[in-house]
């Protein structure tokens, strides 16, 4: 489906958003709005996210069974959909994080010589 492009997905490596969501939820259940703001703040506002694209990602993760949704009451007493990590989601997070770290190290090793040459 090439026509669809959310900023997060097009600018970040595939699966990164999923990882970020899972990471956020490790601290406890949260609703969509909290997750969006947490990701933005957590990245020191480097990742400028169009918050809307978070929701399809949440839906996808829920369908995969990595997170579960339930209806709860928010801080200001409103009905809100909360998400929490499932055991499967936790496993996925560990696996993906280590894969991500490998990737970062690999990219880091490749990029280093260029910087030295410039400097």
């Amino acid at each position: 489906m090439p026509k669809r492009h959310s900023p997060l997905q097009s600018e970040m490596v595939q699966g990164t958003l999923d990882m970020l969501i899972l990471q956020t939820l490790i601290l406890g259940a949260a609703h969509g709005q909290t997750i969006a703001h947490a990701i933005e703040r957590g990245s020191e506002e480097v990742l400028q996210v169009e918050h809307g694209s978070l929701y399809p990602a949440l839906h996808r993760l829920k369908n995969r069974g990595w997170i579960a949704a339930f209806w709860g009451t928010s801080e200001n007493n409103r009905k809100a959909r909360y998400y929490r990590l499932t055991p499967e989601g936790k496993r996925q997070l560990v696996a993906q994080t280590s894969r991500w770290e490998q990737l970062v190290r690999a990219i880091g090793r490749i990029l280093k010589p260029v910087k030295e040459a410039e400097g």
Partner: protein, 872 residues
């Protein structure tokens, strides 16, 4: 794929919407807390979230099944198209409903009669037990068993798990209310266990019930039990007076119980005397359940052995070898179904052709409509619709038409079958089992889908092919479009021709059968009753004939009886056929094999009762019979074969083969009788004077068949001896009609198919020509304006119609010629290539087509040129 999610996708979307609303609200509050104005804060929150519709769409798409979703949309669109074009839709749906409905109906019959197993447990192991025998070189496959054969089989056959014989009959019940004449089946103990149908209440017959000295018992049918005892379980053990003898009720059979093709009110035990099993005539139908693993061939072999030892002990070896009697077992299903299979397959084929015709017609309609939608398709293609998209839509539309038409067809079939079952054609066995079941519904679905694909693909190919859609404007018809329509018309005419020929041939057969002189007259006035006088009752054979003569004289005085007689068997009573080797004095020599002739033993007056004319000489007299005179009668064809002229047969002598058998003088020649069925040639026949214990009485009266008459007949017979069982109580017409039933049933259904085909073809021709006229209005107007003769223009279109018809007719002629061999088994007295039928069918189609093309052609010529051209 997650179907649960799919079915809850709208709910999911609502929740998603709520969640997004919550985001906006929560973020707005946050922004207000940071010091923004409410309106500004809300706008900022919205911006932060992005395009909510797109988010919802994305989530929705994750929840849905794209193919299913768009299919549903296409079906909705199709239903809308069908609704908005009522004229087109009614025509298409109606013809589909008729075509598919007819096929479903005939298929349900086929399914119930031929495909479904018999309604008995383990019915595959059930066999009918018959004999094969030869008379006059003609082989009969279904001669029945004699009591002593049954006894031998029961005692020493190893292939059967259980075995019994039965015979249909009639009985009079007296004692409660008016005397009532009931249909009975008399069966030996083994018959019910063989069928494996348990009694609803009570029990089956036991060996004791079969013993002549024990008290008489009876098993009731469910229907009779309900009618007479109101379904009271206390009926068990009660006593009923049947044929003046008290019988104890021992059981009730379940509802819908049928014994092969009989639904008797009462089941009576068949009680053969333990010794002296005479009259030993072949009149009992055998039924057996094979032991597991035993084939019919093995059982036949086993029974051949049994018959041989039976003949040895019984002294029947001569009869066995003379008639070449061999056991002939066959699956019970064949007994039940008979030879209706060929009829049904021909009908199925005919209605399949009708469905093809319907498809051609609907394809035509769809084509015409696709033509008028060409602009629409072209515009949609220009706007980016893919070819597949448009093709799919057309197909879905056709499928929707097909499925809706098919459902209507199922409804029609249901009504049609109800009608069929209430009419109860004698040619159809297992009538009460006919219903629309799962198999039929699958067939209906396949019919609908197949038909829709057939005409839907046509439409797709004509209007959906890529590159064909450039012409948004000036979409005039191409020659290709015309060619497709012409081909359809030709196919329709050809198919209709085939069906007309088929029904024409059946009509000719029917009239040929009706025109046959069967050798008896007014069969509906001939009441028959079979009486076999048991040796246990009358041991002396001389007294048997006196008793029969006494019965006959009592029957003759019943009011309304004009003639009466009895014979060893009446015409078409195939179970009492007999054949004997006959020597003709001066014609057959001792060392030569003399031909085996059909033989009947008849009483004086029988020929008159049957309505069989005497061609020469005289009938038997009672003096002949009681005086044991050496006289005989022969049939006309027997006389002609041996002596040239019927009259010259008188005084000649014949005898049964064998040195010691006496010569008999031929004293009379009787008209030929079609004794094996109206559709079979009359056998050369020899009549001996009456004798023997088994006889069918023929009583000629206009009151035959009425219940009052039957009661008087039963009373007359029982006045002579109340212990005589009455069997085969029917009119000769029942027997006669059965031999016509197959032809008339086929005739009616093929006639319907033929009429449908003719109408469909006419509609098809009319439709195509009317459309062509409409398309060529402009051309016609110009021609008229330039001075063309209107009559010449009319002729232009009529000629087109006739050309198409002629082409169709020629193809139909070839097809019909090829296919008619298939139907030849059902024909009588007419060749499959009967020229008259072909000419009449051709003329009929030609005239119909002429009319169908003349009307639109006239319309074309009466066009007002100015008006048409101005309208352009």
């Amino acid at each position: 794929m997650n179907w649960r999610r799919f079915f809850h996708r709208d709910e999911g979307d609502a929740e998603q919407s709520d969640e997004l609303d919550f985001y906006v609200d929560a973020t707005t509050e946050e922004y207000i807390a940071r010091g923004m104005g409410p309106t500004e804060a809300r706008a900022a929150a919205r911006r932060m979230l992005g395009n909510t519709t797109r988010i919802r769409e994305e989530v929705y798409r994750m929840n849905t099944l794209v193919l299913v979703e768009s299919l549903i949309r296409d079906v909705r669109h199709a239903v809308r198209m069908i609704r908005t074009k009522p004229g087109f839709s009614v025509a298409a749906l109606l013809s589909l409903a008729l075509g598919i409905g007819a096929n479903i109906a005939i298929f349900s019959v086929l399914n119930a009669v031929l495909i479904r197993p018999l309604p008995y447990p383990g019915s595959d192991a059930l066999v009918g037990v018959f004999n094969r025998l030869a008379i006059q070189g003609q082989v009969f496959e279904d001669a029945e068993l004699s009591p002593s054969m049954y006894a031998a089989g029961k005692e020493s056959a190893k292939a059967f798990e259980s075995f019994g014989v039965w015979i249909p009959g009639a009985a009079t019940v007296t004692g409660t209310g008016d005397p009532e004449q009931l249909v009975t089946v008399t069966a030996t103990q083994g018959v019910l266990p063989t069928l494996g149908v348990s009694a609803y209440i009570g029990r089956w017959f036991s060996n004791e019930d079969d013993t002549p000295s024990s008290p008489q018992t009876v098993i009731l049918s469910y229907g009779y039990w309900q009618r007479k005892f109101g379904g009271d379980r206390e009926a068990l053990g009660r006593t009923m007076v049947i044929d003046f003898v008290p019988h104890q009720v021992i059981g009730v059979m379940p509802r819908n119980f049928r014994l092969v093709n009989f639904a008797p009110d009462l089941l009576l035990p068949q009680r053969f005397a333990r010794s002296g099993l005479t009259p030993d005539e072949l009149s009992y139908t055998g039924i057996a359940r094979l032991k597991p693993g035993v084939t019919i061939a093995m059982a036949n072999q086993d029974l051949t052995r049994v018959w041989e030892s039976w003949a040895e002990s019984n002294g029947a070896g001569k009869m066995l070898s003379m008639l070449q009697i061999r056991p002939n077992l066959r699956p019970l299903k064949k007994d039940v179904v008979g030879d209706v299979g060929s009829v049904l397959s021909v009908l199925m084929g005919a209605l399949g052709l009708v469905l093809l015709l319907v498809c051609a017609n609907v394809a035509n309609l769809v084509l015409v409509r696709a033509q008028s939608r060409r602009q629409e398709f072209a515009i949609r293609a220009a706007l980016g619709a893919g070819w597949g998209r448009i093709a799919r839509e057309l197909l879905v539309e056709s499928l929707t038409l097909g499925v809706v038409g098919g459902s209507l067809g199922v409804a029609l079939a249901y009504l049609g079958l109800r009608l069929l079952v209430t009419q109860g054609p004698a040619a159809l066995p297992r009538l009460e089992e006919i219903s629309i079941d799962g198999t039929t519904l699958v067939f209906a679905l396949l019919c609908s889908l197949g038909a829709s694909l057939l005409f839907g693909l046509g439409a797709v190919l004509r209007s959906g092919i890529p590159g064909r859609m450039q012409s948004a404007r000036g979409a005039t018809q191409g020659t290709q479009q015309l060619r497709a329509q012409n081909a359809l018309v030709i196919a329709q005419v050809a198919l209709a021709f085939v069906l007309l020929v088929a029904s024409g041939l059946m009509i000719r057969s029917f009239f040929a059968l009706r025109a046959v002189t069967p050798g008896f007259t007014h069969s509906e006035w001939i009441q028959t009753v079979r009486i076999a006088i048991p040796e246990a009752l009358i041991p002396d054979s001389e007294r048997v004939i006196r008793m029969q003569s006494e019965i006959l004289s009592r029957l003759s005085v019943i009011p309304g009886v004009t003639a009466a007689g009895f014979a060893s068997g009446l015409p078409m009573e195939s179970e009492y056929r007999n054949g004997v080797l006959i020597d003709v004095e001066g014609k057959t020599s001792v060392d030569q094999m003399s031909p085996n002739r059909a033989v009947k033993r008849i009483s004086p007056g029988l020929l008159a009762a049957q309505g069989t004319r005497l061609v020469a000489g005289r009938d038997f007299t009672w003096d002949d019979v009681l005086g044991h005179r050496g006289v005989a009668l022969v049939s006309e064809n027997m006389a002609r074969e041996n002596w040239g002229e019927p009259a010259s047969a008188i005084g000649k002598r014949i005898r049964q083969r064998g040195k010691d058998s006496p010569w008999l003088e031929v004293v009379g020649v009787a008209e030929n009788v079609r004794a094996d069925g109206v559709n079979l040639p009359a056998p050369a026949m020899v009549y001996f004077r009456a004798g023997g214990r088994g006889a069918t009485f023929a009583i000629r009266s206009e009151r035959a068949g009425t219940e009052a008459f039957l009661r008087e007949v039963a009373a007359a017979i029982h006045a002579v001896n109340p212990g005589l069982p009455l069997a085969k109580v029917r009119t000769l017409n029942d027997v006669y009609r059965r031999s016509m039933a197959r032809t008339s049933f086929t005739l009616v259904l093929l006639g319907i198919a033929g009429a449908m085909a003719l109408i469909l073809a006419v509609v098809g021709v009319y439709g195509v020509l009317a459309y062509a006229v409409g398309q060529r209005r402009r051309e016609v107007s110009i021609r008229l304006a330039l001075g063309a003769e209107p009559r010449a223009l009319t002729w232009l279109f009529v000629r087109k119609g006739l050309t198409l018809n002629f082409a169709g007719g020629m193809i139909g002629l070839l097809l019909a010629g090829g296919l008619s061999r298939w139907i030849s088994a059902l024909l009588f007295g007419v060749a499959p290539l009967d020229p008259l039928t072909y000419i009449v069918s051709g003329t009929l189609i030609g005239v119909a087509a002429l009319a169908a093309s003349y009307i639109p052609a006239r319309k074309a010529a009466s066009v007002d040129p100015m008006e048409t051209l101005r309208g352009e």
